[in-house]
Every structure is written in C-alpha cells, then in structure tokens.
C-alpha cells in the first residue's frame, strides 16, 4: 500500500514535470505555429537566472517564481522583436533560426559563466509516505504545474485578452479588421510563452541542475508532449503529459530506465500515428 502511494506520487511528479517542460512551448507552438527549437535553452536560461540570483543572496522563492519568468520573458520579447517577427509564416525558417539561437545561447552561456555554475538545492525537504520518503518539493512542483495549467486556461477562456488572443490566432485578418493589432498580440504571446518556460526552468533548477547543455535533454520530450496534445494545447498538454508520465514512470518502475525512455518515445510515435492531429484533434475539440 505504501509502495502504491509512493508510485502514485512519483507519477504525479513525472506528469507535473512534463507539463512544466511543455507548457511554454505549447503556448508558442499552439497559438503561433512557431516551433521554437531554442525551447531547451530558454529553460536553461530560467534555471541560470534562478541559480545566479539565489547565489547572489536573493531569496530562492523570489528567484524561482519572479526573477526567472521575468528575465526569460523579457529575453523572449527581445528575440521576437529582433528576428522572429521577420519570419512569421515561414515555419521551417523559424525552426532553423531558433536552432541557431539554441546553439548560440549554449556557446554564449559557456563563454560568460564557464561550464561550472553553483546550482541551487531543493528547499522544503522530504515527507513520509508510509515507510517511504517522498520529496516535498515534488509536491510543490505538482501544485505549480496545476496552477499554471489552470491559470492559463482561465486566462484564455475568461478574460478579454484571452478572447482577443484566440481570435487573432484563428483569423488574424479578421481580428485586424476589428481593430486588433496582430503583431502586438504575437509579441505578447511569444513573451508569455517564454516567461512560462523561464518559470519552468527556474522551478526545475533544484532537481535537474544548471549546465549550458541541459536543455538538449528536455527538448525532444517537450515537443512530443505538445504535438501529442494537439490543437487545444492547454487541455492537450495536460492530457499528453498525463499519458506519457504514466507510461514512463510505470515502465521505469517495472523494468529499467532505458526501457522507460524507449517506451515513452514509442508510445508517442504510435500516438501520432493513430491520432495524427494529437489527442485534442480527436477528443475534447472544443477546449483550449
């Protein structure tokens, strides 16, 4: 029984991690059809912002929850202004430009901070699940992921800003005719997605560490989750994270980590084969 509790808890943490990894990417891809291959490096920047701020005496909660999203959000805004905006509608070119950005960021961070940076350790500590130990910080991650999903859903479904954003994504020309400025909406969306990614990077820094190349390990998983989720990206990211999190965690628990990873990737390939439009391309179509 205790073991089931621990496994259940681990599955929740795995799902939360996938949600955190994918949500910022989902905003940018789901609303703008931009495949941001520098997504992993945006996470890395978030982690660095948290680590550097904390090591300079800022309270760790402030670094994670405020500094990271702010820094990466502003960085995303700059990136959008400096070159993404010239590439709208050119999907492949955006992919390549962001790929270049990804390499350049790895190089730049290595040059500025070296390959070694003092990381931050997880606050809070452990708690008992029967005879076993779970990480309280993991519980905090689950809460954050839920809050981010819920908050984003509410933002898009209930506010005026959300309505305008969704309208612009559906039909930019019509939105423009109604007095909305699509370029400004794109800019805001990209910054929002970047900020969410930065927040995720900051939150994950205490468990995954900070290194210039850390983003590479995350990027494939993030994409699979977003694409597996499909068009309604908030619901989709939630559902796909749940599915992949459960498969990965149970396969790892029952067999080996190698098989867990392969099982996740294979199930993603099969999912895309069965549901080429992602989960929400077939189910829950009316959600966001």
């Amino acid at each position: 029984m205790d073991l089931i509790g621990l496994t259940g808890f681990n599955i929740l943490v795995a799902i939360a991690t996938l949600v955190l990894l994918a949500l910022g990417l989902g905003v940018i891809y789901g609303m703008m059809r931009i495949i941001n291959l520098a997504h992993g490096e945006f996470l890395m920047l978030g982690a660095y912002a948290t680590a550097l701020a904390t090591n300079h005496g800022v309270n760790i909660w402030i670094s994670m929850l405020i500094v990271s999203p702010l820094v990466v959000g502003i960085f995303g805004l700059l990136v959008e202004r400096l070159f993404i905006r010239f590439l709208y509608g050119r999907m492949i070119d955006t992919m390549l430009a962001t790929w270049g950005l990804s390499l350049a960021l790895i190089g730049l961070v290595t040059t500025l901070f070296g390959t070694t940076v003092q990381g931050v350790s997880a606050p809070l500590g452990g708690f008992a699940i029967g005879r076993y130990q779970g990480s309280l910080y993991g519980l905090f991650l689950v809460a954050c992921a839920a809050a981010m999903l819920g908050g984003l859903y509410a933002l898009l479904r209930t506010t005026r800003f959300g309505l305008i954003v969704r309208a612009t994504m559906q039909n930019p020309n019509m939105a423009a005719a109604l007095g909305v400025s699509p370029p400004r909406i794109y800019m805001a969306t990209f910054a929002l997605g970047s900020a969410l990614t930065g927040l995720a990077g900051g939150l994950l820094a205490p468990v995954s560490g900070t290194a210039p190349n850390m983003g590479v390990a995350f990027v494939a998983k993030s994409f699979i989750t977003v694409l597996g989720g499909g068009a309604a990206f908030v619901t989709g990211t939630g559902l796909a994270s749940t599915l992949f999190g459960i498969i990965d965690e149970i396969a790892t628990e029952r067999t080996t980590p190698v098989f867990g990873e392969v099982a996740l990737l294979l199930s993603a390939v099969i999912l895309i084969r069965v549901l080429p439009q992602g989960i929400t391309g077939r189910f829950f179509r009316r959600s966001t």
Partner: protein, 410 residues
C-alpha cells in the same frame, strides 16, 4: 622617471646581455619537438577537457623552462574537438600527417579514444590516453595512464563493505564505462561476502530519477554504488537529497566529483559521499600542493576543481618526457622501448610507474569523502597495479596485440 643617457646605455647593455643567450638558444634549437593535444574544450565534455588542457600546458611550460627535451623546446599543438567524434578523427589525421607531431596526448571518452587510436596506429604516432576508464586497451603504440576499475572500485567497495554493510544497490550510466564498472562493483561486493540487489542503467540524457529513488527505498540496501556520468546525472544527487534520503542510505561513487560536481551541488547534497580516485586536490604532499599552486598561479584562482583528470594528464606528459630523455630521441620505436623499461615519475599523486606488460600505470589509489565541498582523504593505497587489464593483456609475450579487450568479469 627620466633617464639620462648613461643610465639608458647601461640598461640597454643589460638587456642585451639577457637577450643574447636567448637568441643563441633559439638559433641552436631550431626544430621544436611537437606534441599534439586533442581535447574537447567546448560542448558537453568541455569542462573535463579544460582542466586537462590546463594541466598539459603547465607540464609543457615546465619542461620548456628547464631547457626543453634533448636541447629542443616542446611545442604544443592543440585542437578543440568540440565534443564530436568526427572532429577527433579529422584532427588526429591532421596531427599525424600535416603537423607531423612526435606524440599525441588526448581523448576523453572511450569512444573518442577508439576513434583516434587506429589513426595513430596506422600513421605511426605514439599515443597517450590520460583518463580513468574501464580498462582493456592492449596496444603497443598506446599508453593509458589513468586508473582502471581494479585500482579504484576495489578500494571503494572494500570501504563500503566494512563501514556501511553487505547489501548494495548499483546505479550506472548506460554505456561501456558504466556497464563494465557495474560488473566490477558486483564482483568485488560478492568477493567481500556482500550481495548486489539490483543493477540499474540510465541513458546519459535521463534527468528524472524519482522512480529509481522509489525502487531503492523498496530494496532497502545498505549502500548505493553509483557510476552515473555527466551533468544530467548529477540530478540524481539533488533528487536524492530532496527526497530526504541523504541521511538514510549512504552513497559511494567511482565518478562523482571527477569534474565539477562538488562545485555545482550544495554541501548538504554532497556531504558524506564516498569516492575512490587516483588523485584528489586535497592530498597533503609537497608535490600535490606544488601542482595545485602552479595551476592556480598560471590559470587564475577561478580554476575549478583539480582532480584526477588534470593530475593524470600532467603525469602522462612527464612520463613521456622521461621516456624521450632516456631514449635520447623522439623516434617512436626507441621511445616505446624506453617507456617499457620501467620509467617512473614522482607526480602530484605520488610515484607513477609504467607497466611493460599492459602499458598502463602502477599508481597510488585514494579513498575520499565529501565534507563541506572538499574531499577529505580517508585512505591511501600505494602502488596499485592495473590487475584487470593485466588479466587479458601481455605485451611482453605478444607485442603485436592491437585490441581493446572487453574484460570478462567473473
């Protein structure tokens, strides 16, 4: 300060006196001895390569400060292989065919070594591999100066059996080094009367260890033996501490702290982890202190941890230099014969001797414990032989062997 003419002439004359022998020496030693260096200075392995590059630059500078080798200066030719195997092959060819170097020191991963070793065999270049690895290379043109599992894993497991208990759980990186080291961990644990409950392997890009931490709790071992590799795997130690496991089950590792883990982790995450290496920066001998001071003086106080990678590279270079002096030549075959004659060097880690039969080193091994982001050296074991490689490789009897054996651990 204004100079009058007389002072000016005096200074000029003094400068001339100092300069004269230098000009002389340069004219005399027209042809430098070329040493190739192939290391990843950028990309994921950059942090390992940088410390090795510092060490080889220091060694070359020291040799040159003493007038070079055989009266000729040593010239270092270095290429950054950028953590890609293709560039290893490419630059190896460049060093052998274009730069025509006399020796190459380099390679970090076993994959990179196996990519360049055939190139140097083919184009007849002496090759030194200065990294700890899984053992088994048996090639007369190649010298491996780092530690192998028999030298360190053995000591590490002995320590955990004695101090922690008999039941071990092994976690290792899923590639050759991890797989082979895990076999050695299992063998030594069983030899010492203990048992290994589970062996888990992790691909190098895994960062989420929660399922494994659950499995370890379920198995309740006395100790976790880790051969995890790379910055992604460092996440294990963070998640282990975050789950509050730190005080419950101790960890011993053959890889932790080799590069920069102590600098990136918090003391409360790393304290108490036991490791075994051929060298620690904290080793309290004059040679070790001088070495650490020389590196910090030359490259600044910001140089991160100076560990086995740096020390072994430094010692590998000096061993080669001793061989050249003894042979009186940079001819490849003459150097090999000289190096096989039992050359030794007193380096920062202690006395290091080249073993003829395996072309590996007989060197000291140490066991250390992480205490407040430093290593506290607990035990030292002088003159440890590379027994694992010796079991499969005998270059005295079969000098023409050119192979990497996968040592069959029984």
């Amino acid at each position: 300060m204004a100079l009058n003419r007389r002072q000016f002439v005096q200074i000029g004359a003094a400068a001339g006196l100092i300069a004269a022998p230098m000009i002389n020496r340069r004219a005399y030693a027209a042809e430098p001895i070329k040493v190739g260096s192939l290391l990843d200075l950028s990309g994921p392995l950059g942090s390992s390569g940088q410390t090795m590059y510092d060490a080889i630059q220091l060694a070359a500078a020291e040799v040159n400060a003493k007038g070079g080798l055989l009266g000729r200066p040593v010239q270092l030719i270095n290429y950054d292989t950028q953590s890609t195997i293709q560039l290893y092959s490419q630059y190896a060819q460049q060093l052998a065919l274009k730069d025509k170097v006399d020796v190459v020191h380099g390679g970090i991963t076993s994959a990179s070594r196996e990519a360049i070793r055939p190139v140097f065999d083919r184009f007849r270049v002496l090759y030194f591999y200065n990294v700890l690895y899984e053992g088994g290379v048996c090639d007369r043109d190649t010298f491996c100066t780092g530690t192998t599992p028999a030298q360190t894993v053995n000591k590490l497991v002995d320590y955990t059996l004695k101090n922690f208990g008999k039941k071990a759980y092994v976690i290792a990186a899923d590639y050759n080094y991890g797989q082979i080291t895990a076999k050695w961990m299992k063998k030594y644990t069983q030899d010492g009367g203990g048992s290994v409950v589970t062996v888990d392997f992790f691909p190098l890009d895994v960062t989420n260890f929660s399922a494994t931490i659950g499995k370890i709790q379920e198995a309740k071992p006395d100790v976790v033996l880790s051969a995890l590799v790379g910055s992604n795997h460092t996440a294990f130690y963070r998640q282990w501490a975050a789950a509050g496991m730190k005080s419950r089950i101790p960890i011993a590792s053959t890889t932790f702290g080799l590069v920069n883990e102590l600098a990136t982790l918090d003391a409360k995450e790393s304290d108490g982890i036991i490791t075994a290496y051929g060298y620690y920066e904290e080793i309290d001998t004059p040679a070790s202190k001088d070495f650490v001071k020389a590196i910090r003086d030359k490259f600044g106080a910001s140089v991160p941890y100076i560990g086995e990678l740096a020390a072994v590279t430094y010692e590998g270079f000096h061993l080669w230099a001793e061989g050249v002096v003894k042979a009186g030549s940079v001819d490849r075959m003459k150097d090999i014969v000289a190096l096989e004659s039992g050359i030794s060097f007193d380096g920062p880690s202690g006395k290091v001797t080249l073993d003829h039969a395996t072309h590996h080193t007989i060197r000291n091994a140490y066991v250390g414990k992480a205490v407040n982001k430093k290593w506290q050296v607990l035990q030292s074991f002088p003159n440890q032989a590379p027994a694992d490689t010796a079991a499969v490789c005998d270059l005295i009897k079969h000098p023409n062997t050119d192979k990497m054996f996968v040592i069959d651990v029984k």
